[in-house]
Every structure is written in C-alpha cells, then in structure tokens.
C-alpha cells in the first residue's frame, strides 16, 4: 500500500543519522532493524555523509515518520520512549520508504469491517480509505499479516474491537509487531526493484533433487543420500516434520555400515561474500553412535590456490541423539568459497547416522548463544510457570541467564538476569551498556520468511533500584541466591524484560514451536561506542581520526570527516540551499545564485552597452573629423584645378 510518485522514493542505500537524543537501547535496536532490511530486501543504510536528503532518527515524542522521501534534506523519524522495539522501527521505516497502513487500502472493505461506534471520538479519520489515485497496492492481495496493519484494538473507546476481519481466523493476527510479512517484503522489493539482498547467501531444505547445487566430494568413502526418512531415525525431515506427503527430504550419512573412519563430504556451491563475515545455521540429527562427528570447513578460493584452501571452522562432537538440533557456525571469509560438511563415522556401533536439513547461510552475525527448550508444549499446560535458561557468558565474560515467565492463559514474558560468574572480580561494575537481544526463533526453513519475535534491553550502569543500589551491580551484591538443577548455588540479579513478550496465540502460530522444540537466540553485545556523537554509529577506527576532527568545529550541522589525514567539514545541503566554506560558515542557495547570475549578466550587459556607445561615439567623431578634413582638401584641390 504505497504512495504513488517516483519522487517519493529513496535511493537503495539510505543515508541516516542516529541523533544523540536517542536512548542507547533504541540505537542498538535501530541498527538491528537495519540488519533485517539488509537480509530480506535490497534496502541498505549508511551514515550520512553530506547527501542532499537523509533520515534523522531522533528521540521525539512517540513513534512516527513521514511517508516517502519528502526531499526535506533532514527528514525526521521519531523513535521515542517505548518505541525501541525492532518491529516498530521496521514499521516507521516502511512509512519513510513510502508505505501507508494496510487497512487504508482502497479495497479494505472486502476484508475488514470497521466498527465506527467503537472508535475514540474524533479519531474516526484514522480509518479512512484512500483510493488508488493516492496509493498503490502493487497488485498484492490484502495482507492481514502486514507489520503495517492496525491491531483489532486500534483507537478503541472501550474494550471491543474496532476492526473485525471478514475471515475470523485473522482476528488476532492483524496488528502483529514481530517482523516483515511475506507480502510486506513482496511490495517493498517490487517498489524498489530489488533483485538481491545485501546479506542473504543461501537457504536449502533439500526439497529439490538438485540439493541446491551442493556437490558430493570424491575424497571420501561414502556419499550423503537425499532421503525422506531413516529406519534408525529421523522418521521425517525438519522442514516439514512429516506434515506433507511425498515431500520432506534431508541429507543422510549412513554410519551403520560399521566401517570405522567412514567419511562422507558434501560441499555447497561456490558462494561470493560481500561483507566478510558469515553465519551458517543448520539442523543436525544424530541416529548413529555418540562418536559420530560432523566437521564444518570452508574451502576458500584465494589467488594461487586452484582447489581452494580448506579451513576447519568447527568440529561438532558428542551430538545428542534422537532429535533435530540447531547449530550456528561463524565464518570470516572474504574470497569466494564453498561450505564443506564432513561426516565422520565413529568407532562404536551405529544403527543410523548423521542427517542435516534446513541450511541457511547469510552475511549476518550469529547469535552468541542458543537456549533450546525441549518438550515445550507441556509448559503451556495452564499454570503460571517460570523457566530459567542455563548460564551463559557474554563475549567479555559477564555471566547471565534468561527467564521465561509463562502465564497460564495470555502472555509469555522474558527477562535478562546477570548472574554471578567466574570473571566477576575482573569485570567493570555496574555492568555498562551491554545490549541483550532475545529472539524467539520462527523455525521456517528459509531465513528470509521468518517472523522471529525479538526484544532487546540495555544495561544502563546508572540505573538504580528503589533502595538506591545499582540495578546492574554485581549479582553477589544486589542479587538473590539461587541454585542450578545440579544444586550448585549462585547469585541471580534482578530480571529486566517484559511480561508481554508474546501472546500464547502468536506463540502457537507460525513455526515458533516445531517438533515440540523452541529456541531463544541470545546476543549480548557492548554498545558503549554508540554513546558517541550522532552521525558515527560505528566505532571510530583510529585515534588520529578522532584527534584530527576533535580540534575542528564544523558549523551549521556540518560533519567533520578526515580526508588524507586532514579534517574536513562535510556541509549540509538541501534541494535549493547549502552551506559552504571551511567550517560550513557560509550559506548559499539557488536563489542567491540566480540573483548573482542575473545581476552579473545585467552588469556585463550594461558595461558592454556603455563600451559600445562610447566606441560608436568615438568612431563617429573620428569619421566626422576625417570627413571635414577631406572636404577642406577637396576645396583646395578644386581651387588649383582650374
């Protein structure tokens, strides 16, 4: 449901500024939202460096945006208090990219009924329909699942729904704020003529016989087989879980043949990296022995290495048997490469082997940890229950734990707790500016079609409890004593999160629970570098850059950058105005230029006219003199002639 007019479009890479006014958590969430655009669309974002138009994301009152590129130079988009949810940011940026709300489409009355008497007084105008002279639904069907759709309770004056979907199954679907829907992406990619995305590389569920162009290696003793079930397990693949007849394939390496040292190698097609870092995700099922092993390599085709350079990225051993397990492997590859899966049969007897399915590869950051909850459905059994994750460590060594608070009927909450850990004596307390991102994984086989539910919180070291103690101080100081299942005692800090992470209904939708397994992906990253000046969200690379610019004060919103080691001011400019000068101290505009041009033309014209007049006058005077001289000469001659 897009705004009509090419002039409302942005370039594929949108310049932005994260203003200092933004909350720290909001800054991190906005950068995470950009990663979702980079994975699923061809829209990218870059720090503003003087382009005519850019989006200034600031902490205004509420969450709002303009629709489309309005060529204002600095186009504001507000992410205020409580707007720091990733889907809210995606929603507001979709407005900026040129999209209206879904239920304002010209054809909406075919799909929803507006209950006008239940709408807040004077808010009825928020439910207007706009005909196709103003907005274009791009030939895409009405989308109840759009991240741009109002919820059923929008602008309600009581407790009754203001929007009733004509297909009742969608009543609790509208208003989702998890991620882009498939149709959201279809429209956006169509509007911006997207042919590829920045960070997606490959997704394979082995449903097609060509197995995504993967190849069997000849340097092994066995092949991986494309099968739909294995006697010793699994009974079905991970993609469809046996739901669909005559489909549901995966790759299997049979280790029950008993040949010790049996090896089967499967290589991906050649892949071409752009960003230099990758995340491999796949599901693995072990029905062989506990010693069967899977090694992950990359084969990088660097100069002078015809066959590529094989690098062992991860050895996966002691693979749990009897269920599909989710694995992540991080790469840092810069040249074209293949991913290599090497299955190794262990020495012990096996009645099955190794199986892999639902591979996804993207140039994104892998989650730091995975909380795998098995037999999840029984936890939804109808009573309030708290579930705690195992302990994890952040990259710098902060120990933490996640708790999930499952209410009997309505919502599921999720909270981040710092806990006592082995490194506490070496760490900084209160814990400063760590952003914890908790993602409930939608286990769709294709990473591009997932609508994972994500929330982030950030540890503000200045935050205090009611008793004045620091919220993020050492858990052994401000926490409570708790015990792990094995009886070991530890201190658990207060939880920080939300009691309304997801509703039961949404949790049971899509593929959040699959094979009775649920996954929460966890990342805890240091975002203290975002505490710097507005326009530079990435850490400043070297101190010289900082020194060079720190002595320079660019005026009128200019940004200091370093060119060839010298600080330079990038001056802001709009459609018909700009700043110039060493420090952007001088303002220029097309109007001034026109005035100058016209006045100089007039001046030149006047000067030319004067010169012309003077030269005509002189010429005429000279000829007059000459003429009179000639006449005199003639007289004289005549006098003598006769």
């Amino acid at each position: 449901n897009s705004i009509i007019g090419d002039h409302y479009r942005w370039p594929h890479t949108i310049p932005y500024v994260l203003e200092d006014s933004l909350e720290m958590n909001a800054k991190g969430v906005i950068l995470n939202a950009f990663e979702r655009y980079r994975l699923k669309t061809c829209i990218d974002f870059k720090p503003w460096s003087g382009e005519a138009n850019y989006i200034s994301v600031f902490k205004g009152s509420g969450c709002w945006s303009s629709v489309g590129n309005i060529h204002a130079g600095k186009q504001e988009l507000s992410i205020g208090t409580n707007c720091d949810r990733i889907a809210t940011v995606q929603h507001e940026f979709l407005h900026a990219l040129g999209f209206w709300h879904e239920q304002s489409r010209a054809d909406r009355d075919d799909y929803v009924t507006i209950v006008w008497e239940r709408i807040l007084a004077d808010r009825e105008h928020n439910f207007n329909i706009y005909n196709d002279s103003v907005s274009d639904s791009l030939n895409v069907p009405y989308d109840y699942n759009s991240v741009m759709h109002y919820s059923k309770t929008a602008f309600q004056n009581g407790t009754e729904s203001t929007i009733i979907t004509r297909i009742s199954d969608f009543e609790d679907v509208i208003g989702q704020r998890m991620d882009f829907s498939d149709y959201d992406l279809l429209k956006l990619n169509q509007l911006y003529n997207c042919t590829s995305s920045l960070s997606f590389m490959d997704s394979c569920d082995f449903e097609l016989e060509n197995i995504c162009g993967m190849i069997q290696s000849s340097r092994d003793t066995a092949d991986w087989q494309r099968v739909s079930q294995v006697l010793g397990g699994p009974e079905n693949d991970h993609s469809n879980m046996g739901q669909c007849k005559d489909s549901g394939f995966f790759m299997h390496f049979n280790t029950s043949t008993g040949n010790e040292g049996a090896k089967a190698v499967l290589e991906s097609r050649v892949l071409y990296p752009k960003r230099g870092f990758q995340c491999l995700e796949f599901y693995l099922y072990n029905s062989g022995s506990g010693n069967d092993q899977l090694n992950i390599y990359t084969r990088e085709y660097t100069a002078g290495h015809q066959d590529g350079v094989l690098t062992l990225q991860r050895e996966i051993k002691e693979i749990p048997t009897g269920s599909w397990q989710l694995y992540y492997v991080t790469f840092k590859v810069t040249e074209k490469f293949r991913v290599v899966f090497e299955g190794l049969g262990g020495p012990d007897a096996s009645s099955g082997g190794l199986s892999i399915d639902d591979i996804n590869l993207s140039e994104t950051r892998c989650p730091h940890h995975v909380w795998h909850i098995q037999n999840f459905t029984q936890l939804l059994g109808g009573q309030n229950i708290n579930v705690y994750s195992p302990p994890f460590y952040s990259p710098e060594g902060y120990a933490f734990q996640i708790s999930m608070y499952i209410e009997a009927l309505t919502n599921v909450g999720i909270y981040f707790h710092l806990i006592s850990g082995a490194n506490d004596d070496q760490l900084q307390w209160p814990c400063p500016w760590r952003q914890a991102t908790m993602t409930l994984l939608d286990q769709n086989p294709d990473i591009r079609q997932r609508m994972s539910n994500q929330r982030s919180i950030t540890t503000d070291p200045t935050m205090t409890n009611d008793n004045g103690s620091y919220f993020w101080d050492r858990p052994s100081k401000v926490g409570v004593v708790a015990s792990f299942p094995n009886g070991t005692q530890y201190s658990r800090g207060r939880g920080y999160g939300t009691s309304v992470f997801i509703t039961h209904k949404r949790l049971k939708s899509r593929e959040f629970i699959k094979g009775d397994d649920l996954y929460v992906l966890l990342t805890v990253e240091d975002i203290s570098h975002l505490n710097s000046t507005a326009a530079v969200p990435d850490p400043v690379p070297t101190s010289t850059v900082q020194n060079a610019c720190s002595e320079v004060e660019c005026q009128n919103g200019g940004i200091c950058t370093v060119q060839d080691g010298r600080p330079e001011c990038k001056c802001p400019a709009g459609e018909d105005w700009w700043y110039m000068g060493k420090r952007c101290e001088t303002r220029g505009s097309t109007r001034d230029t026109i005035v100058i041009a016209v006045s100089s033309t007039v001046t030149v014209f006047a000067v030319m006219l004067i010169i012309t007049l003077v030269s005509v006058y002189c010429t005429r005077r000279r000829y007059r003199k000459k003429a009179s001289a000639n006449a005199a000469a003639m007289n004289l001659e005549n006098q003598h002639a006769f």
């Binding site: 504001e76 507001e92 309030n384 708290n386 708790s403 608070y405 919180i457 409570v480």
Partner: protein, 40 residues
C-alpha cells in the same frame, strides 16, 4: 513458584505504536504519520 524478581520495561502493557502516541496526546495522521502535502 514463579518469583517476580524482575523489572518490566512495558509495565505489563502490550502497547502498540498508536497507544503510545495517543497516550502522549499526539493526534498524528493515522496515529503515527507526520503528514506532508501527500494529497491525503
């Protein structure tokens, strides 16, 4: 028994964009659009 040794950033409310803006007294176009001359 589920302990509530937690701090809820949403205060237990699942507020959508429009609820947040309404509570702030913003009467933006369709709840969260700052309208330019779009012909709407």
């Amino acid at each position: 028994a589920p302990e509530k040794f937690v701090k809820d950033i949403d205060g237990g409310l699942d507020q959508d964009i429009f609820d947040i803006n309404e509570d702030l007294g913003l009467d933006l176009f369709e709840g969260d659009i700052r309208l330019e001359a779009h012909g709407r």
